[in-house]
Amino acid sequence: MDRPIRVIVAKPGLDGHDRGAKVIARALRDAGMEVIYTGLRQTPEQIVAAAIQEDADVIAMSILSGAHNHLFPKVVNLMKDQGADDVLILGGGVIPEDDIPGLKEAGVEEIFTPGSATQTIVDFIKNNLKRD
């Protein structure tokens, strides 16, 4: 691809722990991507609106409060409602192993739990984009 990959990095829900999201944002930037950082306390609707307007290739979300089962699928579904099915949707944070299959089934492409290397995430994005 001869253009930068565009990624929305978002914190849905109310938790304020954004160290992980910010570290990922920097790592993606250093991998040559354009990162649109939307900040804390984003509703699924806001994340989807940003992804649409920014014509993002990827939505990467992080939650540490335990609200992932509620919020991640909501983002996936809202994107579908918009007809935007060519965007790669990723989740991260403190996510119990038990919850991962359900989230993937709901359409979250991959879940990255604590300890994931940023390089793994960069590689995953590069290899799994849904559009040119």
């Binding site: 990162v35 950082y37 609707e45």
Partner: protein, 311 residues
């Protein structure tokens, strides 16, 4: 063409996709602009710049909300620097405008400067045209006013809003040297801080000294976070458009902007043509080496390169 119809229908996804395409120099998008160019020119394009930490995004957010109260459709292009080392960037201006994300009458787009020669103003001007066709009444272009390329971008606007903050002190002198002369309207933001009136006075004095035109730019005091002075500032911005519309000034300004844009496009095209030609034969590398080793002078080098494309 599907994208064209969707754009004219005001479809956000189509608009977003087309802006990406323009940004990536996509032929299809450019031919679409060619076709629909006559539909542009309706939007009032406002460039916003000023030193970092001046609260540009917050102020833009408030100005846009005020325009939304009037039912106007608004586009925002927020430009942030791209890292010259990695080609990546973190674009954070949406943080200040999250309330606007969901407003159907607002379209926000973040852009990285991406660093290719002349490409930035081309990309933003392309995006402005797409937003214009999309039906925006007002289009804001927001940049950090630190580099020449950013200045070039806002210069393409109908109205340039310079944002200052109190307590810049000597910085005003430095800003003056580079960018003061491009401002059509000045706003001193964070005017609840100590020293705001003094800063406003200093700017006024400087403008009065520097301008021998028939219009001295107004200097407004605002506090964006508290929504103070926003209406008044907006009136001045609109007032500037009224001023432009008198005596054919708007057409003259747009003519000079168009001239700059055309020259920019030609420059870029020629440059890329030369670079492409020379890359393929490795001439530029060779010649640069010769010049560095004092085996050739740069003027001769230029002649040789231009000869390669028969210029």
């Amino acid at each position: 063409m599907e994208l064209e119809k969707r754009l004219l229908d005001g479809d956000k996804r189509a608009c977003a996709r087309l802006i990406s395409m323009v940004e990536n120099n996509n032929k299809e998008a450019i031919s679409l602009i060619k076709k629909l160019y006559k539909h542009t020119g309706n939007a009032h394009v406002i460039g916003i710049t000023g030193p970092p930490g001046g609260g540009k995004s917050t102020l833009t957010d408030k100005l846009v909300k005020s325009l939304r109260d009037e039912g106007k459709k608004v586009g925002i292009i927020a430009v942030d620097p791209t890292s010259p080392f990695t080609g990546g960037s973190i674009l954070g201006d949406r943080i200040r405008m999250n309330d606007l994300s969901l407003d159907p009458g607002v379209f926000i787009r973040s852009m990285g400067t991406r660093g290719h020669l002349g490409g930035l103003s081309k990309a933003t001007q392309g995006a402005v045209k797409i937003l214009d066709i999309y039906g925006c009444d007002y289009i804001f272009i927001e940049t950090v006013g630190v580099g020449q390329s950013e200045v070039d971008i806002v210069r393409t606007a109908d109205t340039v809003l310079m944002i200052m903050v109190p307590g810049l002190g000597d910085d005003i002198q430095a800003i003056k040297a580079g960018t003061m002369e491009i401002g059509d309207v000045f706003a001193v933001n964070k005017s609840d801080l100590f020293g705001a009136s003094k800063t406003a006075r200093e700017i006024k004095t400087m403008l009065e000294m520097n301008h021998n035109m028939d219009r001295i730019p107004p200097v407004m005091q605002v506090t964006a976070l508290k929504n103070e002075g926003i209406k008044e500032l907006l009136n001045e911005i609109k007032g500037h458009m009224e001023y432009l519309k008198e005596n054919d000034r708007l057409n003259k300004r747009r003519e000079s902007n168009a001239r700059a844009e055309i020259i920019n496009l030609i420059e870029e095209e020629i440059l890329s043509l030369i670079l492409r030609k020379n890359e393929s034969v490795g001439v530029l590398d060779d010649i640069s080496q010769k010049v560095a080793l004092r085996n050739m002078d740069p003027y001769t080098a230029k002649d040789e390169i231009l000869r390669a494309i028969d210029l």
